[in-house]
Symmetry: C3
C-alpha cells in the first residue's frame, strides 16, 4: 500500500524546493515526533521548526519561511505544506483507506437496483427497490439505501448510514458512519387531541463533492427539497432540518443546528454549536462564530458572533463591557455616594 519515491520526484510533485540528496527515497508518512527512517514528516508552521532537530524522518516538508536545514536533514520547502501533505499522502499512501471491494454475497440488493461499473457493496448492506448506484461508488456494510434513492459516481457511504427513499446524492460525496439522510422533518400541528404529525413527502438533494460527518442528520423536506449545495462540508453531529437549502461551498462545524426552511447562501462558515431559528436567510460569505445564536436573517458578508449574534466587533465590545460590569457598578455607586442619591 506504501509507494517508494525519490526526494527529487517528490519535490517536483509537491511543487517544492528540495534541499538535500535527491536520490534518497521515502516510503511512508509519520508525525514528526514518531517518524522513522524512510518516513516523510511535516512542519506546517515555522514555529515548530525546532522539531527538525530530533526527528528521525528521512525528509521534512517545511513552510517556505524555514531557511535552514538542521542536522543536514533534507527538507522540501513548500508554500502550502498542508496541500503538500494532501498530495504526498495521495502519492505515498494511495488507497490508504481499505474500502470494501466488489459486491459482497451477503449484501441484499433488490431485483431492480441499478449498479454502475466498479461499484462496491459491503456485507449486509441493504439496497431497496429502484435505487441506483453510480460507477465506482462504495457502500460499506450495514448501510441502508431506500427505494428509488440515487447515488452518483465515486461516492463513499461509510457503515451504518441510513439513507431513506427518494434521495438524490451526487458524485464524490462522502457520508461518514452513523449519519441519517432523509428522515422525516419535525413538523406537527397542535390540536385539541394532541400534536398531529405533518407528513414529509419531499426529499433531500445532496450535490457533488459534499461531505457529511458522522452521526449527522439531514431531514427530508415537507414538500420540495432539503438541499446541500455542491462542495459543502458538514462536520459530525450536525442537524439539518427539513427544507433547509445551503451552499455551494459552505463549512458547517460540528453540532450546529439549522432549523426548518433556513436558506443559507454560498461560502457560509459556521463555527461549532451554532443554532438558528426557522425561516431565515443567511447571505453569501457570512461567517458565524462558534455557539452563535441566530434569531434573524443575516446579510451577505457579515461576520457575526454571540448569543444572539451581532456583528462581531459589537459582540466583542459588549463582552469586554460585561467583563467590566463589576467595575462599572462600583463606579456607579461611587457617583451615587458623592451625589447623595440612591
Amino acid at each position: 500500500m506504501k509507494k517508494e519515491i525519490t526526494l527529487t520526484a517528490l519535490a517536483k510533485e509537491l511543487g517544492g524546493e528540495l534541499v538535500g540528496d535527491g536520490n534518497l527515497t521515502i516510503n511512508g508518512i509519520r508525525d514528526i515526533e514518531e517518524a522513522l527512517p524512510g518516513d516523510l514528516a511535516f512542519i506546517l508552521k515555522k514555529k515548530y521548526e525546532h522539531l527538525l532537530e530530533k526527528t528521525k524522518a528521512s525528509c521534512c516538508v517545511v513552510p517556505s519561511q524555514v531557511t535552514e536545514t538542521l542536522n543536514n536533514k533534507p527538507i522540501i520547502r513548500c508554500k502550502n505544506p498542508n496541500l503538500a501533505f494532501k498530495k504526498a499522502a495521495e502519492l505515498i499512501l494511495p488507497n490508504h483507506i481499505p474500502h470494501p471491494k466488489g459486491i459482497h454475497e451477503k449484501a441484499v440488493i433488490a431485483d431492480n437496483v441499478t449498479l454502475g461499473k466498479d461499484v462496491s457493496i459491503g456485507c449486509y448492506a441493504v439496497l431497496e427497490s429502484g435505487s441506483k448506484i453510480g460507477d465506482g461508488t462504495v457502500i460499506y456494510p450495514h448501510c441502508y439505501i431506500g427505494c428509488r434513492t440515487e447515488i452518483g459516481k465515486n461516492s463513499i457511504i461509510y457503515p451504518n448510514v441510513t439513507i431513506r427513499e427518494n434521495i438524490k446524492i451526487g458524485n464524490r460525496v462522502i457520508i461518514h458512519p452513523g449519519s441519517v439522510i432523509g428522515s422525516d422533518g419535525y413538523g406537527y400541528e397542535a390540536t385539541r387531541t394532541g400534536h398531529q404529525k405533518i407528513p414529509h413527502i419531499g426529499d433531500v438533494i445532496i450535490e457533488d463533492d459534499v461531505e457529511i460527518g458522522a452521526c449527522t442528520t439531514v431531514d427530508r423536506a415537507k414538500i420540495a427539497h432539503t438541499k446541500i449545495g455542491r462542495g459543502t462540508k458538514i462536520d459530525n453531529l450536525v442537524q439539518v432540518a427539513h427544507n433547509v437549502t445551503m451552499g455551494p461551498n459552505c463549512i458547517i462545524v460540528s453540532q450546529c443546528g439549522i432549523s426548518g426552511s433556513v436558506k443559507i447562501g454560498k461560502n457560509v462558515i459556521m463555527g461549532g454549536q451554532v443554532g438558528m431559528v426557522e425561516h431565515i436567510e443567511i447571505g453569501d460569505n457570512v461567517m458565524i462564530g462558534a455557539k452563535g445564536g441566530v434569531i434573524k436573517s443575516i446579510p451577505a458578508k457579515s461576520i457575526m458572533a454571540g448569543i444572539p449574534v451581532r456583528p462581531i466587533k459589537k459582540t466583542m465590545k459588549i463582552l469586554a463591557l460585561e467583563e467590566k460590569l463589576p467595575e462599572i457598578y462600583e463606579r456607579l455607586k461611587k457617583i451615587e455616594k458623592k451625589l447623595g442619591v440612591k
Copy 2:
C-alpha cells in the same frame, strides 16, 4: 401509490370551500413552484398568494384570507391549510413511505419472540429472546431489539435503531434511524482508584404516540424508569438522560440535552439546544426558548429564555441593555468627567 380524486370530493374531505370546477381531478401533490398539471399545491400563508399566479398546479389549497382566484385557477379555501396538507397527503399519497412488508428471511428472530398480526421485520433486523412486537408494527433493516423488549401496535422503527433489553414501547410510536433507546445512564462514583461505573438496572418506558428523531439517545434508568409520556415529540440528536420523566405532549426540539432525573410536566415546549442540569422539575405548559440554560426548577406556565433562563420579558430587557452597554458606559464616563471623579 397516487390516488385520483375530484376537487369536489377533495374539498369535502378537507372541510374547505372550493372555488372552481369541481369535476377536475388531481392525483399528486407538489410544491407550488414545481407543481405540474394534475398536482395539488399549497399556500400556507396569505403573504405567499402571489405564487398562485405562475403555478402550473391544477388546484391550490389556500388559507381562508385568500379571497381571489388568480388566473381562474381552482382554489380550496381552508381554515388550517397545514392540517389540510396532512389530510390531502393521506388521501392522495397513501402509503407514500415504502415500508418493508412481511418477515424477511434474513431477519434473525429468537425462538421465543412474540409477533402480532401483520408485523413487518426487515432484512438483517435482530430480535432477541423474549421480545414482543405488536400488530402492524414495522421494524426496518439493521434494527436491534434486545431481550424482553416490548413494542406495541402500529409502531415504526426505522433502520439502524438500537433498543436494548427490557424496554417498553407503546402503540403508534415512531423511532427514526440511528437512535438509541436504553443505553446505560451516565453515572459514576469518584473513588481513589478512578470513576466507578454505577450499574443501570432500570428501564425505559415510551408511551403511545411518541415520536423520537434520528440519532437521539434515551438512557435507561439507574433504577425504576426513564419515561417519555404519551404524545411527546422529540427531534433529532436530543439527549434524554437516565430517570428523566416527561410528558404527555411535550415538544423537544433538536439537540436539547436533558440531564439525569429531571421531571418535565405536560405540554412543555423546548427550543433547540436547550440544556438543563440534573434533578430539577419543569412544570406543565412551560416554554423554554432555544439555547436556554436551565439551572433550577421552573414553575408551571412560565415562558423562559436565556443563559441562564429567566422569564422571557426579563431576558429581553437584559439583552436590550447589553446591546446598550457601550452607550451606558459612555454616559457613565460623561458623568464622571462632569463630577471630576474616577
Copy 3:
C-alpha cells in the same frame, strides 16, 4: 439471573451495619417506591428517609445518617449507599445485561482475524481483515470493526457501533450503541476550486477503562493519534475531533464539542454542551460548567463557567450584575436627571 443472599451476608459484603433480622434473604433490587417483598431498596440521601415508611422492600440500604428503623424494617447503614448499590447489583443481579454469547454463525469474520478466549461476536457483526479481539470481549450485532483494529480484553461494543481501520482500544472499554470511532477528521484547505479534503492518516487510541456513550463521535487523527486516556468517561452525543488528547480520568458530559488538536489533562470535568476552539490546552483538574464556551487555554485546577468561560466567581458576579442591569440603568438615568446631563 437473580441470586438470593441473607442480610447478614449482604451487610458484610457492602461493609455496612445491619439493623434487623440477618437471616432474612433478598433476591432482587427495585426502586423503593416499586419494591416488593424480597427486594432490596436504596435511599441515597437522608432527606428521602420518609420513603422507608411505605416501602414493601424487605430491606433498605440507607446512608449512615439515618438512625431509626421505621416500621421495624431491616436497614443496612452504609457510608456510601451509591457504591453499595453498585456492589449489591453485582451480587444480586450478576450478568443482568444479556450480552450475546459465543460466535454467532451469521457474524462475518475475515480469515486473518485474531479472536481471544471467550470472545462473543453477535449476529451480523462484521470484523475486517487483521482485526484482533481480546479475551472475554463482546461485540454486539451490527457492529463494524475495520481492518487491523485491535480491541483489548473484557470490552463491550454495543450494537450499531462503527470502528474504522487501525484503531487501538484497550481493556474493559465500553462503547455504547451508534457511536463512531475513527471517522475522518474535519479538515479542508480552502482553494480557488473549493475546499480540498486533507487526508486523515492517523488513528485513535482508546485506553483501558474508558467508556464512550451512545451516538458519540471520535475522529481519527490527521497524523499521529487522537487519544482518550485511561478511565475517561464520555457521555452521549459528544464530538471529539481529530488529534484531541485527553485524560486519564476525565468526565465529559453529553453534547460537549471538543475541537481539533485540543490537549486536555487528567481529571478534567466538563458539564454538558461545553464547546471549545481548536489547538488549546486544558490543564489537569480543570472543571468547566455546562454550556461553557472555551476560547483559550485554561491553567490547571481552574473552575470556569460562562460564554466565554471565566473563573466561576467572576462569571457568577457578572451574571448577577446582568440581572441587575435594568436597575443599574434606572439609577444611571436618575443621576443624569439630577445632574441635568444626557
